[in-house]
């Protein structure tokens, strides 16, 4: 019941915010209100399942098990954070006459639809609905990528929609193959594409068809996740959208697509009767996705693209961890939580820097630390969080990941560790250049803006909140109860008892 209410709220607000009668200032307030209402409803349904008091709750085509509950609550958390940050971000842009009122309305409409689509994808039980949700997210975000309609944003949006739609079309082929396998396997027509029924009757699905289906789904939806050979749209799209939206994109959309693939992996493993076959994919694509960004980050002088490549690298880490074996799901869950929090905080910080200096190139930026110390410190802490320094969730997840990796795939773990070192060096080098080394040819901000001490804005509050959450989750996951929580969530999606 709560879910339908949440969806209603998410559908109603875009309509209101589009009507000209509602003034623009109210649209922003409405956005935050809608986000909090949706968050409230989703959390009330998700938390009992998450904390294990309630077993799985399947409500018709919606399906709330611990994993989808976790993903849904992360979606809504980032959605709420983005809504709050957008108030500051768009307020500042409107104040500086960079965006028209119509654009602000479009921004909010698309943001609500984007969140709605993601929730649908995360909680859906029917494969067709999942495909519908994924394609809806692509369409909603295309408008947002093309938001500034100038210098490359259009190009990024066009490439984004083209590549992602092609990818998801392949995903559709995979889904149809699963449907066909179900048909051949003798399931009733009504529930061909229902995930839970598929899991129950997995043994009757013919392994050959399921193998083809899994390959298509992995490559298709893998384009949405951004595995390496399929990642080319990600850096352009994530660096051209308004920063709060790229926080949602990088922070949570990639995770939603990844969980969809994990669901298919569950079904395929049951059908094939073993997890080794599917894990090979995750391992190979994971290693590729860690190595390529590792090298590019060494020479990436645009800080938003740097964060985009870091997202690709973290998705690669997730895939690698899942590829290690059934136990690899536990660090993957922790890593998902950590990456969402850290990456969204980073993009909010990038947004602040972009607001003040209007450029994403390091060579045109003065030393951020001297002019905007608050943003600089929070950005630095978030970078440390994402580089898995002790105290952040990623330290716990990468520790467990390397632990499992060393005993199962020694050589590939060493390669991934080298990749991680490359990434750490690349990102630290450019972050320090961004924060402390002002480029000589930096376009100085007019002195009027310069002299005023940097005010404590909403973004800083949200960033601080997320970093606090990151630290708290970091400590929580090191406690035995944290490990148990992560194992329970992983168990819900894994086909093998952990």
């Amino acid at each position: 019941m709560h879910l339908t209410l949440a969806f209603l709220a998410l559908l109603a607000t875009p309509l209101f915010s589009w009507l000209p009668v509602v003034p623009v200032k109210a649209v922003r307030g409405l956005g935050v209100l809608a986000a909090s209402v949706a968050a409230g409803f989703v959390w009330t349904t998700a938390f009992p399942v998450l904390l294990g008091r309630v077993e799985m709750r399947s409500l018709g085509i919606w399906f709330v098990d611990p994993m989808s509950a976790l993903v849904a609550s992360l979606i809504v958390l980032v959605y709420l954070a983005t809504a709050v940050v957008s108030v500051r971000y768009l307020g500042h842009e409107r104040h500086e006459r960079l965006v028209t009122d119509r654009q602000v309305r479009l921004y909010y409409v698309m943001m609500h639809l984007f969140a709605f689509a993601m929730l649908v994808t995360a909680l859906a039980n029917h494969l067709g609905v999942i495909w519908f949700g994924l394609e809806a997210t692509t369409l909603a975000t295309t408008c947002l990528v093309a938001f500034y309609a100038k210098d490359g944003a259009l190009e990024a949006a066009w490439k984004y929609i083209l590549l992602c739609s092609t990818g998801i079309a392949l995903g559709l082929v995979g889904i149809l193959m699963v449907g066909h396998a179900a048909a051949v396997g003798g399931l009733q027509h009504a529930d061909f594409l229902y995930l839970d029924t598929l899991r129950m009757h997995a043994s009757s699905l013919s392994p050959d068809i399921m193998r083809w289906a899994f390959v298509f789904v992995f490559v298709g939806i893998g384009t949405k996740v951004g595995f390496v050979p399929l990642h080319t749209w990600l850096p352009d799209a994530h660096s051209k959208t308004p920063s709060p939206i790229s926080a949602m994109l990088s922070g949570i959309l990639l995770n939603v697509a990844f969980v969809t693939i994990l669901r298919f992996k569950g079904v395929t493993d049951l059908a094939l009767g073993g997890t080794e076959w599917t894990e090979k994919f995750f391992l190979v694509f994971g290693i590729l996705s860690v190595l390529l960004p590792g090298f590019i980050l060494l020479i990436q002088r645009n800080y938003k693209r740097m964060l985009a490549y870091s997202s690709i690298e973290h998705m690669g880490l997730l895939a690698f961890s899942v590829g290690l074996g059934p136990l690899g799901l536990v660090p993957a869950v922790m890593h998902m939580v950590g990456h969402t929090l850290a990456k969204s905080a980073l993009f909010f910080g990038a947004g602040e820097i972009l607001l003040r200096w209007k450029t994403t190139k390091l060579d045109h930026l003065p030393a951020v630390f001297t002019h905007a110390p608050r943003t600089a410190v929070l950005f630095l802490l978030a970078i440390l969080g994402i580089l898995a320094m002790p105290g952040s969730t990623l330290f716990a997840s990468e520790y467990l990941m390397v632990g499992y990796g060393i005993n199962t795939h020694l050589v590939s773990t060493l390669i991934v560790l080298l990749g991680l070192s490359l990434v750490a060096v690349g990102m630290m080098r450019h972050t320090l250049a961004l924060l402390f080394e002002g480029a000589p040819a930096a376009t100085e901000v007019p002195p009027a803006v310069e002299s005023v001490r940097e005010p404590w804005t909403l973004t800083h509050a949200v960033m601080a909140g997320e970093l606090a959450l990151l630290g708290a989750a970091g400590v929580f996951f090191l406690l035995p109860s944290g490990l148990a929580f992560a194992t329970r969530v992983a168990q819900s999606i894994s086909s093998v008892a952990l």
Binding site: F218, K280, I299, L417, L432, P480
Partner: protein, 667 residues
Amino acid sequence: MDPAFLSFAILASLAGTVFAALVALLGVRAHHFAHILLAFSGAVGAVASIAFVVQDFEVLEIASVRLFFGMTFALDVFSAIFFAIVGLVSCLCSVYAIAYVRQSHEGYHIASLNAATALFVLGMQGVLLSTNVLGFMAFWELMSITSFFLVMADRKPASIKAALFYFVMTHLGAAAILTGFFVLAQGTILADFRTLAFSAQVIPAPALALTFFLFLFGFGSKAGLVPFHAWLPEAHPQAPSHISALMSGVMLKVAVYGFLRMMLFLIPSLPATFGLVIIGLGLASAIFGALYAVIERDIKRVLAFSSIENIGIIFTMIGVGAYAFANRLPGLLVVALLAAVFHCVSHALFKSGLFLAAGAIVHATGTRSLERMGGLAKRMPLLSGAFLVLALSAAALPPFGPFYGEWMFLQSLVQSLAAPTDGAVTGVLVLVLFAVVLASALAIFAMVKLFGIATLGAPRSEAAEKAVEPPASMNAPILLLALLLAWMGVFAPALVSLVGGKDLVSAANRLPAIEIVGIRPDASLVVPAAVFLGLLACLGLVFLLRRLLSDAKRERSYHTWNCGQPIDASMEYTATAFSAPIRFFFRFLLRTKNTVVAIPVVATNPWICRRELFLNLRSVWMDYGYLPIARTCLRAASIVRRVQSGSVQLYVAFIFLALLVTLVIAL
């Protein structure tokens, strides 16, 4: 003192450090209080651990925390010694920092600097106390990342570059150590050191070899062993002086502690070749460190290279210990490891003292280059006195403590030469003997150059001219360290027994001259106290004779003899000139290139010209080791970036190629 009180004291020291970090964040006002608190907690930690060692308990359970999957922090004799070093040096450095940070015109962000210092000390204390893998790695990363921020405290491009280089090495090192732990753990993810020790007994030989090399790289890169040392002379000089004192004096020892903890307690006996590997790297570090310390002209880089040299000697001692164990020379094993720990303690003392003194000198003269110092002994008698004692101890000369560390090691080497083992072992021991002696000889040269050029003669720049004695709160720690080294010179056997050689020190408080084999030790028993007093007595005797024989009190001060040509400071011998013979004798190793540019004063007359010498001290390791690797990485990056060519067609082709390839391979 009963164990409960001691563990409470250690906990208080940890809590004090954490509280100091929090207080430091309050801002500049809390600067004094934060440092006093840090000093106090350091002192408490040092005293408690020394008390623990003196009463020679076996293991002291400090606390067991549910964090890190129920991890226990414990202190045993071995880690207590290092805990004492950390406590003592951090206490002195924070007293020094009170005046130093306020007056330094480097533009430090004081609140974050103090907080990072406190967290840095906490990281080191945590590493020493933790007995499980996750705790060790967490505090190790904390130590690395805070020291990374401290190196770039003044936020200048040079220090950021150095800090980045340091970050690369520590990140790779930490990854290597983590992998080493997991390969050793063979499956159990959250093992503590005891279970690691058991599982290490059964792992196959190749896995054991892999763990050894991973630990050697991990701890070696942090300690500054030669092939992985290139970051140390870049990073330590950039840090504020009290931080480079902490890093050089103590962080390197924590790395040595980690390596020793693995070698002694975890990895079962290794074949002799591994000992040879450690000896090889150690000797290379000692000789290269000493050579570069001799030819360097930046006062803090000289000290950084001298740290590499001392670390090389410590690793050689460990290597000789491992080699002796493999070749059944138990006596040599015991003395070698004992000498290694003794040298760790002495190096921690004199190196942190030297860095603090160097910091005071740099602060007074405003420059780090030795070429623009001089004449400071006349202007800073107190500081230069302590500096002299520290320099002599760094050169391991007789009356002071470090001499006895090297004395024990070389003495045991010479004694085991006569042992009836096969030729190869004796050959190795002879090689080690002469390499260590050459390294310490060059170290004497480097320390004399450092002290001589920095403090003696006429001041070579106005800043040096106007230099004035640093404030008492900066001088006190340096003087205390000098006194400690003198104390070590007198009570070396007490320290040896403290460090673990209790049964080695013979009853009459003589230095351990144990009968290894072959050479009877009876005639070679040396009582350091007697040597110290003997030298003082001779000094007194000479002073008395001079008073008796020469009544001439009259003195006349006049300018230095200059055979008619008025001389000024520029004619004095500089650091480059002083080290010219060594640079010439070891040019095949050092590859220094000096180019002389001659510009004729008058165009017509080519003979009379103004010559300028450009000497670049390119480091061999940097040119042939690190830069090629960096260049290949960047070239690979520029190749890989072409993947993002921008053409949509290519991107679509990528998707379908990926699909086809996966289909072909997977099915």
